[in-house]
Homo-oligomer: 334 residues x 2
């Protein structure tokens, strides 16, 4: 590394002919400093290229300004969209995002949270994976805040943001039946996360309430390829479904592609398809997928505003957001 170190407040103070406290106060909002010295400090700082050392500031204030985002499958459309919204909101609130990728092993969420603790992150937002109870307890005990997105879990302390998955599933079941469909199917992955399972159970329950059975098929992880695989399983059955609700838009895209190009089926004439997330591709004209829009901006806003709020400690807070149905062309009628 270069010999030349960063310029410190001390040097600025000397150049401006004031005490070190003065320069510190100049860069601390709400501190008492006269306009005259303030200007002297600002000039000197600019000339020297001074920037407050947030490491040291965090050390003193016991508040780093860092928020950890713990996320897997970053390359996925929905995840990256959420990531975008979160970083945007965090920056608006003067926080900075530390990104931790948990794609690797299974204990990686714990490792990630430990990293968050090391950097004294003010908070962590978990978009994936369920950390060990001992770790989250440690976070909470040390005044860190925790947000769990779509990760239903029974811990006390963290903010949990969820969707009305079951309601949405019921709505889509109704839509299928109105379109004249009677042979319903549900396409899922084997990930088994709470939100995916809530959609599945909600759909099956709603169908049962209308006197219909549901063929459920699960495969692999939650991606395009799994959608194709599930299509192969469902569409080679003796009795083909005439409507399928996919737990995710990616699954739905894979399913539609297989149905059309591999089984030469027409969507929505021969089979109706619905998804969940409203990723960008759902609106592409090759798909025109009817789906539920994840309120990513709202989610990000809720998460961040809770993180930066003064109060809101330790009460068991859960936010349930509504997913709007976006009607396109993959279901008949409408």
């Amino acid at each position: 590394m270069s010999q030349k170190l960063f310029v410190s407040a001390q040097e600025v103070a000397e150049k401006a002919g004031v005490s070190r406290s003065a320069v510190s106060r100049t860069f601390t909002s709400g501190a008492s400093v006269s306009p005259k010295t303030r200007q002297k400090v600002l000039d000197a700082a600019d000339a020297l290229g001074y920037h407050v050392n947030h490491l040291a500031r965090g050390l003193m204030r016991n508040e780093s300004g860092i928020v950890c985002l713990i996320v897997s499958e970053i390359g996925t459309p929905y995840r990256s969209a959420l990531l975008r919204a979160l970083t945007q909101q965090l920056q608006n609130s003067g926080k900075v995002a530390m990104l931790i990728n948990t794609d690797r092993s299974d204990g990686s969420a714990d490792l990630a949270l430990r990293q968050a603790i090391r950097y004294r992150a003010d908070a962590s937002i978990i978009l994936s994976g369920l950390p060990d109870k001992s770790i989250t307890d440690l976070c909470l005990k040390n005044g860190q805040r925790l947000v769990l997105i779509n990760r239903d879990d029974d811990r006390e302390g963290p903010l949990k943001i969820n969707l009305d998955d079951a309601d949405a599933a019921a709505r889509i079941a109704t839509a299928f039946v109105r379109a004249g469909c009677r042979k319903l199917a549900f396409a899922n992955s084997q990930a088994g996360t709470p939100s995916l399972m809530a959609r599945e159970h909600g759909f099956v329950a709603a169908a049962k309430a209308m006197g219909l059975d549901v063929m459920v098929e699960r495969f692999g992880h939650t991606g395009y390829e799994s959608g194709r695989a599930v299509a192969q399983q469902l569409l080679t059955r003796k009795e083909r479904p005439d409507a399928v609700f996919c737990a995710t838009d990616l699954l739905a895209c894979g399913f539609m592609d297989a149905a059309r190009h591999q089984f030469s089926m027409s969507v929505p004439d021969q089979i109706c398809v619905a998804g969940f997330d409203d990723i960008e591709q759902a609106s592409w004209s090759s798909y025109g997928l009817t789906t539920f829009a994840q309120p990513v901006d709202m989610t990000a806003r809720e998460a961040v505003s809770w993180l930066v709020s003064e109060t809101a400690e330790s009460e068991n807070h859960t936010v349930r957001l509504h997913a709007d149905l976006v009607w396109r062309t993959s279901i008949r009628g409408g």
Copy 2:
């Protein structure tokens, strides 16, 4: 925030019955500490839930372990894939990623880099936007390292990672001609980044070398909708192109969708299409897009290995990577 502060090395030392230096040394690799005390410290630390304060450590060592990723359009397939690879590599090297979103205004890249300086980031990786010279100079002067990905620029000091865009463009021009196409077009956005323009110019030049003209059309920013718009401009011309090279896969997807669904054209029979990036959607069977694969993993590896290397300072380093042609079904023959 909670009254209970984080546990410090001091408390661990007291509980273990050793000096504070001992616990510090226990958590510093390569420090001299006997196995016996080391174990005592480890036990005490575990019992108390101690974690080294990286803020303080960074302050002392003048090396924070933080690397800033400065990126816009995080939700885009290519960007998020690169992000995934970079965070992966950084974590492998014991670094941690600070994510900075520059979607907002134009000066946001500068603001972002300034944030990086405040946290004494060891390095910054810029995936988008060109920061002001004064800021990058400041980074470099203070021993920060800088990596520019696909952002050709004439500064000295940073590592620049680029692709052989022009070569790729020439290859695809040849492929078009071999497929019997003579009326070539290039679809671009108005972003005007170096790599996009290199593809355009390379394509036009290669075509000219073969005695062919190219219809060039640019629209908006680099996304699906712009692809559709460009299609509308190109396909309503008196003389329609029979082959179009899109500067980006997203543009290509938009173009193909418009060509097929809006103009009822068949790809590749009536028009051949090629893209660039090899995003996941390019392989989806609705597109089957022939495209060039961005070597994201290689890019990430090059960037990170340079960042953590001891040497490699101040020499003007440029890495030019090769983009493999991925042949699918959007071009005839092959």
